[in-house]
Amino acid sequence: MSNNEAKFVLGAYRANGRDAEDATFGAALAQAKNDPALGAWFVRAQAHDAAVAAKLREIVPPAGLREAILAGARASRAPKIERRFPTRWFALAASVAVLLTATLALWPSRAAAGTAQLAAFAINDTAHAQHGGHGEAAGALQVMLSQPVNRLSAGLPVDFTALRATGCRTLNFAGHDVLEVCFQRNGAWFHCYIVNCADFPAMPTGTGADFDQQAQFGSASWSDGVHRFVVVSNAGLGAVKRLL
């Protein structure tokens, strides 16, 4: 083995000595021990590697990253909404109040009623449903939704059939499938409900977003012409608006 070949191999030898037992380095290490020039090079190379490694260890992750990771993991394990409420009675009362309010307030307009009823359905589901059953496709969408830089009104990559087929939580509203994906952004929980516009011809398409606030729940509803989306959060209407 020439010295250049030994240098090539020893370049992969970690300065913390954790490769000492690796036989791959045996011959090159022995050569460095017996050849003064190669030995001196190896000492300098290791010192350089150790210095850079030490600098890299000084880099500290931003505050809050650990907590965000742990919170995100809890989210992916299908959070149960009951945890956020003191009692089931409170959840039941809130859902009844929400449904009554939404129904009474939005009854007059038939076209708007479809959208509003879907929003009320979504809020009610957020208030006391047990969420879960996300598949791989939903996971990708969940990650996209969770990214603070993504504005939801700019478009969402939804393949309704694929999401439903791969285990995304699917509900039924007025005889049609509704997909639901939970996600977290900036510490707040959101629930995105998706329907096919073709299933609900009475709902307007291509219009701006409608917003609603029922109790602590804020919701936004909009359409991209193919799907209608409703996002609900107990973080309030402001948090929902910031998503768009």
């Binding site: 190379a45 890299l56 992750p61 993991a73």
Partner: protein
């Protein structure tokens, strides 16, 4: 996997993963997102990994794939691979320079290294993965890892020297009170 085990996994690996992500993505916010995304994927499907001992390699591999997935691979990769071997000489001045520089400057220099070399180089300096584990993480042969380490180190030494020169040129000689008296 229990919450406790997951927390232990996060505590053991999130810092080195962040450092690796920072070297790739360059911006702290993007690095944080990459780390979060990696653990999110673990939480959703990585827990099916039977051998928990392989979690570390799995996390680094996943983070790297997520990074690559986020943007198109640099077309210069092939061209860089064709370059002759790097200059392996290390002089005492290189060592002093790396020792005296602050961490942020060293990381900034590391981020200027071509990505194809930067990924194995950062994993090497994190000292968590052996060269064989780096090869598995990046999906390249062991010889390629050694080659990339050699070239990457050459680029890094050059970048550190450049950073040092730039830092020197920014230093304005202090003329002090004498200079003001003359004006």
């Amino acid at each position: 996997m229990s919450n406790e085990v997951f927390t232990q996994l996060v505590d053991a690996h999130y810092a080195p993963l962040y450092r690796f992500a920072l070297s790739l993505a360059k911006r702290p916010a993007d690095a944080g997102d990459l780390v979060q995304q990696t653990f999110f994927i673990w939480a959703t499907k990585g827990h099916s990994l039977r051998e928990t001992s392989k979690a570390k390699s799995w996390l680094f591999t996943t983070l790297y794939r997520e990074f690559l997935h986020g943007r198109r691979r640099d077309i210069r990769v092939t061209l860089l691979e064709d370059l002759p071997p790097g200059e392996s000489e290390v002089v005492a001045e290189d060592v002093d320079r790396a020792t005296q520089m602050d961490a942020a400057t060293v990381v900034a220099a590391l981020q200027t290294v071509d990505e194809v070399f930067r990924a194995p180089l950062t994993l090497f300096y994190l000292e968590d993965l052996s060269y064989t584990e780096i090869a598995a993480t990046l999906g390249v042969p062991i010889g390629t890892v050694m080659s990339r380490l050699s070239r990457g180190k050459t680029q890094l030494r050059a970048a550190l020297a450049q950073e040092a020169t730039a830092a020197k040129s920014k230093v304005v000689p202090f003329t002090g009170a004498q200079g003001r008296k003359q004006s």
